[in-house]
Point group: D2
Chain length 153, copies 4
């Protein structure tokens, strides 16, 4: 599977976050950058649910994750005391990258969507392969991968 | 009870927080100011467990909470992926203030302790009385208040 | 000019930010969401340089700014003690929106680029026109606007 | 000077910070924990003015700074667009610690005061002596140190 990007129809992982004062700003709503903190919590919890903890991944494989690119749609604001649900889905699995789509919802309303490309790198910033164990675990969450796209990592 | 401060032996409320990348700094540990975010989450969850939400308190009574004074002991660092427990206890209930002690623990280790004086104020910053319903609820968490100290609010 | 978007070749505004511990994470670099704080400082300073302060704009016109959409490229990491320069340029001026491109640089290296669509809204979240004074001032920064695109605000 | 704490009447270092949306919360004022970010910027700039950068100190001596204890008085709130001045003064210089007092002001008003004990530690968290060069530079800022207190580091 080296050098290929798998377009995966992965199972969605969900986690919840509460909005506290720390997340809001003087406009009375969640500050725009803080949704990226929520999104990162969602990705971290997805990995944790598969048995992967950031500090163990780095200790075992030398790999850390670096965001390479992202796009965010801000559809509706979130407010103090809101309970938000973060849905996280790996949509492409490259040799050294994960493309992840996330929705941040309050009940039935989608407030924010993100499209994020994460790269595996070493402490030196250089690209590293997605660790094998993680690749296998993420593949399991994507039993019905509908297409495969060759891509230089 | 007006104009008095009740020294309460209150029941402790506990909540949990996970340490994410957002909480850490380049020294590899939780950034010192971020423990105050954790502490505020703990106080917010204590109030929520009693039925009080910040935005409802303000809508119903015009009261918001402002920290007037705090002291923090940093005993041990917290690290990425740590699961922390925040124990929150109201130790004094004044006419317009709450004094709250909190411990942030990892398993049996106390990492950080805080001593915080919170004042009830209006949007104009002027002191307001602790809302009656909240006072009653906090008093219930303190059945064995050992002493009463007269204090100007 | 109502209902039109002006593609502007605006003068670039620059401001500087220093990287402190608060901005970094346990990977030893600036946390990805924090570049959006830097970018917002850059946009705020661009407006300030034209005589517009957020709290005065809201007091005078009821308008606040809400990010509707953004894309970010993370090209190189920033580190503790780095002095960064934020270049900010309004590239489109709609009836109720500003499209802004920003570069975050360290010396000659571009570390991060952002493409952000900001909307003028009221506290109710509903769209509001770009305040006239601000429109005029931003137009002055774009004397050679090369093209005009009709666009529903 | 080993094992002694010098009570210093040090020169005050000043730096300025602007309040941005990122610093505020839904109560319309600067979030309480964020004043500790401002305070840390002030301490960092004081050291930088003496020629010491955090990442160079660590590279050269293995020393990083860890806050051991702090107390903060919140006297008045700060608001969006405020320009704040942070006055930083080393008041005691121990073998392995610095005690620092800071005032955060807006014009003539003192908004927040802090009293912070910072320890020099290694990455292992163990105490390290204040680096000699830094000790000498900090001593120069305190020509009229009025008293010397013996203290176990």
């Amino acid at each position: 599977m080296t050098g290929r990007t798998v377009a995966v129809a992965g199972v969605t992982h969900s986690t919840q976050v509460r909005v506290y004062y720390e997340d809001t700003d003087a406009a009375g709503i969640v500050y725009y950058a803080n949704f990226l903190k929520f999104a990162e919590r969602g990705r971290t919890e997805m990995l944790r649910s598969l048995g992967f903890l950031h500090h163990e991944i780095e200790a075992n494989t030398g790999v850390i994750f670096a965001v390479r690119w992202l796009a965010v749609d801000y559809i509706q604001p979130a407010r103090l005391d809101d309970l938000l649900r973060i849905d996280t889905r790996v949509v492409e699995l490259g040799a050294a990258t994960l493309r992840i789509e996330q929705q941040i919802r309050r009940d039935d309303d989608v407030l924010v969507t993100t499209d994020i490309l994460v790269a595996c790198v070493g402490r030196d910033g250089k690209p590293r392969r997605v660790p094998d164990g993680m690749r296998a675990a993420l593949a399991k969450t994507a039993p019905a991968a509908p297409s495969i796209v060759v891509k230089t990592p």
